[in-house]
Amino acid sequence: MKKDRIFSKSISGKLIFLMLILLSVIIIYPLLWILMSSFKDYMSIYQDVWGLPEVWHFENYVRAWTRGISQYFVNSVIVTIATLIGVLFIASMLAFGITQLKGRIGYVAFLLVMVCLLLSPQVCVLPLFILLRGLGLNRTYLAMILPYIAFRLPMSVMLIRSFFVSISKEMEEAAIIDGASLWQIFTKIYVPLSKPILSTVTIMTIYYAWNEFLFATILVDSSSLRTIPVGLMVFRDGLMTEWGVVMAGMVISCIPLIIVYLCMSRNFIRGLTAGAVKG
């Protein structure tokens, strides 16, 4: 104990503290700068990079919103919610099915899901493009939603299954004696007990679907369906020098996830680390 206190007053302790502060500045400063510049017009960014805005151009946000961000925002919300619902339903059913399958077939089903974890989306993106175009889906939201669900399933199933396995069998056995169907066991026993893991999967999925870029930029062939990550690029190209408006758009696009984080930061961190910790 005493040693620790000496350490904290020592030069090395202060040096480390200074380094941590420096690191924080490197992280925070560019973010504050974006926030600050999003209220400036082009000339005042260009002439005075570091200064506070002389005139606060709140209209940058209105312009960003009306010049396209609103459309991208709505698209992102639709795709994220649809993906989330799909992942929660399909992954928990699949996880439940796997735990209920007796014998080797259950193991095979589980393995078929887990092997997908080895696959990076880059490998499938060309054939997926051709497949979705062939199915006529490349001008619909489904061009994002379906691949998103598919690529979120393995991790989600893995997490949900491991939670299902830990649920005690007593209630289930009692329910079977009372003549409950599998569907009833699933909806009345497993799902209600699994709220913690389902909220983890929810956060992972929202985070993924809101930020996904590769599929959204390659698989979708319609400018009216762009989600925020893709839309921002077009937005930047279209607005060339109106940097303030572009930055306002960037700030708007970050708000939803920051709100989710502020509301449930503990869950959020657990959600983002669960895959790695248990994988």
Partner: protein, 296 residues
């Protein structure tokens, strides 16, 4: 009979998920393998079988080599900056001395993880901007004018500048993973070591490091396979240029397929990415299993 009926019911639960995986993961993977032996463009209706020609080209394509080197550089820097540095940072933050400020630093370092890659890349476009960019203005402000340059337009600095973006965004996330791992270490191990008179550095090497070995391994695979599939940063910031200075494998695949319209060869590049990442993740998959921790 009863088991069989029950299995049939359970299988119905699996059906939607397995179907989606079959159509959107397994089928494209198999298609990709077939495409890699063919030559065709996006508009053509027929595909010609070309045998191993695409694979031969893969090994003689100078851009592949350049991309591969960039991916390796990406991996090396990421491992040093995120895994090694992240572990040390996590150990520092978990130290008693910094307990009071830990949550502040932890939150700050985690913020970039919340931002989408597009936002981060656009942000760094402003940072690297040669005229009014934050980096050059900063260097001028502290009198280091000679160090200012066109960061993304210069062959020597472009790749490292892009790699720096990833480090900025991801080191906090890896640090968070290590913090989670360190918090799981039973504290009596440390107490016993303190009684034995082991100093901080000694405790770090003899207790922390061995106890977070698994997490170390996980983050290692995570960052390395991330480095071999990186796409967004070079795509947004440089498009692979100047020349092919910042080309990486997935960007080369994308440009070959969708810009040069050579889908067959692009699929062959995808196979290369597949082999590299599949080997990496199966190492993790099979050596640490997925079932070990799950009943915790």
């Amino acid at each position: 009979m009863n088991t069989r009926k029950k299995n049939l019911g359970a299988l119905l639960f699996c059906l939607p998920g397995l179907l989606i995986l079959a159509v959107f993961v397994y089928f494209p993977l198999i298609e990709n393998i077939i495409y890699s032996f063919q030559s065709f463009s996006l508009s053509s209706s027929s595909k010609t079988f070309v045998g191993l020609n695409n694979y031969k080209e893969l090994f003689s394509d100078p851009v592949i080599w350049q991309s591969f080197k960039n991916n390796v550089l990406y991996a090396v820097v990421s491992v040093v900056m995120q895994v090694f540095f992240g572990l040390i940072l996590a150990a520092i933050l978990e130290d008693k001395v910094f307990r009071r400020s830990e949550s502040f630093f932890q939150t700050v370092f985690f913020i970039p993880t919340l931002l989408s890659l597009t936002v981060v890349c656009l942000l760094f476009e402003f940072v690297y901007n040669p005229q009014m960019g934050l980096l050059n203005s900063f260097l001028e402000a502290i009198g280091l004018d000679s160090l200012t340059r066109i960061w993304l337009g210069n062959r020597d600095t472009a790749m490292l500048s892009i790699i720096a973006v990833s480090q900025w965004q991801s080191f906090g996330y890896v640090t968070m993973l290590f913090i989670v791992a360190i918090q799981k270490i039973p504290s009596d191990l440390y107490e016993a070591a303190i009684v034995d008179g082991a100093g901080k550095i000694r405790r770090f090497f003899t207790i922390t490091c061995p106890m977070v070995k698994q997490m170390f391994f996980v983050t290692m695979v995570l960052t390395v396979s991330g480095a071999f599939t990186v796409f967004n940063e070079p795509y947004i910031l440089t498009g692979g240029g100047p020349g092919t200075a910042t080309m990486v494998l997935s960007l080369h695949m994308y440009q070959t397929g969708f810009v040069m319209n050579r889908m067959g060869y692009a699929s062959t590049i995808a196979m290369l990415i597949f082999v590299i990442t599949a080997v990496l993740s199966s190492v993790q998959f099979f050596s640490f299993g997925t079932g070990k921790e799950e009943r915790e």
